[in-house]
Symmetry: D2
Subunit: 336 residues, 4 copies
């Protein structure tokens, strides 16, 4: 069997996860890693990666490979995808592609013209809980979906420095929920209404962002979704979904560290949800990458493509506009 040759660009938290998952796949050979940081290069050396470099240009020019996994900072994504596509490489890119619709459209054009594949890292689609709900919806187990409810709360806010560059709550955090809202019922969003507040940390407000939000989405068929977010849930990472339809309801709950129940004089007590996305979505990251590799090997369409990124960005930009203008925003108002 000829193996698919991979390079990984960026060995931060997510880059390391993808690297380790790739290293365990029989069909994959990781031939190169790019990261400017010495400790990340050391991390790659310990795993016997043949070629290690500091710059993306060198990566593209000096080694032969089939696909690159881009986990570098967000502001490099668009350029790196473009460069890879022009070099004929398939790309798995962490979300978001870019915070500008126009730039995303440009990049997608290049991908299309070069006939390369681009997969976006919406990892939650590969979570077994959410997938199960999507499958139940797909099988008609709840009839026609009427309402989608997504709860998505982080265990703690990131550093202010990160928030300032993140594009804000809607583009950094809720964007996963926007994608999930589309994915779980397979419908497109037509209108967005967003309410937000600074309730967790005033510094977030000073940085121009919000930390708590409720967003109502209306699908093109008039059905609705509602998302609630917080940057800080005292009890940990809260990731739940509920889809209500004409014949029933499907729910996915959090994943917990264990199933124990302790009964004592004060009540009944159980474990907290798994701490954060690295723990909750550990398995989803594996499946995500395996599915990407399969689409390369079988020369099939990738399960999450550039348009999925584009649409989520559009919803996110509509949410920002809605929050600012205090009115529901039709998705068509968000143009290139």
């Amino acid at each position: 069997m000829t193996k698919v040759k991979f390079a990984v660009a960026g060995l931060g938290r997510i880059g390391k996860i993808h690297l380790n998952n790739l290293l365990q796949m029989d069909q994959v050979e990781v031939v190169a890693v790019m990261d400017p940081m010495e400790d990340c290069q050391e991390y790659a050396r310990e795993r016997n990666i043949p070629y290690i470099t500091s710059t993306y240009g060198e990566l593209l020019n000096s080694v032969e490979f089939d696909s690159v996994v881009i986990c570098s900072p967000t502001n490099t994504h668009a350029d790196y995808v473009e460069m890879a596509a022009k070099a004929g490489k398939h790309v798995f890119c962490e979300k978001p592609l870019d915070l500008s619709m126009q730039r995303v459209v440009e990049v997608l054009k290049v991908v299309e013209d070069t006939n390369t594949k681009l997969m976006l890292g919406f990892n939650r689609r590969f979570d077994k809980e959410f997938k199960k709900v999507r499958d139940l919806v797909g099988e008609g187990a709840i009839g026609k979906p009427h309402l989608v409810k997504i709860t998505s709360r982080d265990p703690g806010a990131p550093p202010i420095g990160y928030i300032e560059k993140s594009g804000g709550l809607f583009l950094d955090m809720t964007i996963h929920d926007f994608d999930m809202a589309r994915f779980v019922v397979g419908k497109e969003v037509e209108e967005v209404y967003a309410k937000g507040a600074v309730l967790v940390d005033e510094a977030i407000g000073k940085a121009g962002d919000i930390d708590t939000a409720v967003v109502t989405l209306t699908y093109t068929d008039g059905t609705m979704a509602v998302i609630d977010n917080s940057r800080e849930a005292a009890y940990g990472y809260d990731q739940r979904i509920e889809v209500f339809g004409s014949k029933g309801m499907a729910q996915a709950d959090n994943n917990f560290s264990d199933s124990h129940r302790l009964y004592n004089g004060q009540g009944i007590h159980g474990a907290l949800p798994l701490h954060f996305f690295l723990e909750r979505y550990a398995e989803a990251y594996k499946i995500e990458m395996a599915d990407y590799v399969r689409s390369l090997v079988k020369e099939e369409a990738v399960p999450v493509d550039g348009k999925d990124g584009l649409y989520s960005l559009q919803i996110g930009l509509a949410a920002i506009k809605s929050l600012k203008e205090k009115r529901p925003i039709c998705i068509d108002e968000i143009k290139l």
Copy 2:
């Protein structure tokens, strides 16, 4: 012990519940019942009610009592309360008092001027599940409340005839949730944004109403609540609450017919929620009436007063306006 003398006006489903609960209270003597229907009068006779009449005027003029419980059709509520207050009777009145803000204000003025008590039948406040969440919030168990989520779905839509006279989903059904949103965190609502759709039954749309809704409320402190409604949940009556705060989250689940779990080759199966409000809130109705009686005996303030009715109505009218004008409505826009 001198007993508190009660009359019950209207022996429909709710009237019967209140009558039976009153009959079991040591401190209460039910001296009269008013209902124009023969079978309802028969129902009262079987319970040995001393005085039974067909008209409200006769009830007020012919028997001595301390308090009347008004369970007659909605369009009689305002007049009946006014008449009772003017006759010096305390009143327990099913919600809503009236669908017009102005009329409600007039009635409350009469109640105030006559120095009588008026309690509104927001029965869900007395449900042990919701009360527990309110108590946890009150004790600070979840810190400062940031988000309230209320799920409220009926097992099936009422007849179109009922819907036409009900004031619509927001004034008939969601009004309970508006009251709950205020009650559970003890905050007032400042802004309302409502989305709705006709997804259950086209006839409801033809009657000028909606059957599915998502309503976002903003409290005066900038925190938010979101309510989702459906007229028809295939799995029965769905009544859940979640309050998320700076230090945690409190949830109340549905009440189920039993706790059984059946494990077989197809999965794990459990019982459905209790069918509808008569079953789910049977105990709440008892506690509600007992609390009302206690406030009469102890000459204390009633637990739910006319202003609670007024505020919920105001939120409901704002929701109607929001749905119509497709924009968030500040509560102050809803004037008398």
Copy 3:
């Protein structure tokens, strides 16, 4: 409608429950109460019971009624049932009838000869949770039952004085579980093996009893049940059942004060089980008495009869013998 006339003998905790339940039944008229205690007589007077007396003989001789409910101390049960039967009254008697097999057989003979009805107060059979499991078993939902597991733990031990007269753990507490083991699968017990220990309170051991036990029952078809008991569960009254069969498993859980979940930094927390049998079985007591009244009105067999008491006693005596002789006891070893 002619009402069934009832007398209640003994107004302790259980007697009061039965009295109040009877007072709410349309088909019942409570005509007399017997209790030697002044405060209990006062309790009856407040409820307008027409005839109140201190002695059982007077009760039988002075008032006309159809059925007596016997809630007096255990050592009076057998005599009182006999006297009532001879006087042609139907009897609802709290368990146990007597702690001696021989005496029970004598009493049942009198009941049979007088053609009166005798119902034993095995209240748990009327609990909706256990009834649901029994129904699932009866419908074949779990196929053929192979294993029954009963957990039955009290929130705290009764006073030593009570324990000394109770017949011990197996005849006082486990006897309910022995009845449940027969009821839930509709099978008879053939062999009993009991292990016990004094782990809660040494004083219980000094009184000649145990406070913790595991009892294995073998049914006549070779299938098995296991019961575990404790006199003191720190978290309250623990009453669960599980039946495992060829096609699945059915479980009944405890009933809790409410369904709330509190999520905070320490974990997820819920309410304790309802405190004790008065709370857990409040509804079961109502249904039990209603079912008894119905069997009188319809002249049908009572749902729990004297033989049910006899068999449970036999199993209990076998458990005592097993504990003492440290070996499994065939039920036939327990003769009259």
Copy 4:
């Protein structure tokens, strides 16, 4: 870092699991595999194992390594452990060491004399659910343990051929539960009473075994454990534990394929438990092997040693004797 050199003897289902887990450990180098089957050798070749052989003797003589993992058929365990110990190798051996107490004692003597390490594969000790319960017990969260309840049911019976050689239900299946009963409370067993039946498959009875059992264990301090087993649970692998103590109760539930809940007109439905031990204990196998490797690297005691195997075997033999002689068996009756 010098790596610990490992050989794996036997590449059946469990052998493959251990091999793959070892291959992912940084501190481990797998230098050899022994298996007589061609397809197992091929499996090893695909994983680039340097030395592959058909015989255990060759394995010991031809390659240098520090530890062997023995996953060959049960009847080879004792000999293979002895041979390895005499060759100065540390051993991880799947349970059971042998079905004869005397043989086990001999082998343990050799291990002791050669100063090598021997770890027994009681994988369930490393399951996060059971470990959590053990930890709660260890921390005193439930006070003094009074009762242990272990439910352990397989999704389906193994082939009759396997059953005939397995030593029977108690030595093949319940032995894990005997070990768990000791582990979860850290106490030794003094007495065993076993009841069993053939309810799943008559062929199992013809093979001289049982398929359903209830075993009561008494610890040396008089507290008790009860285990229930079935070879066939229609709903899958059922592995639960409950420990009840003076201050509370700790429970561990099954692990399910996902957390979804589907509500429809028939009820509420959830996923089945993970199918069997390979799925349920996948993570436990990893932790088990990692703990073993750590004990080699740090030159510490292994977490499960030969005596743990010996004691479980003793309890199993007592259970067999109890079933046969229909009486409780003191553990001292089972001598070498």
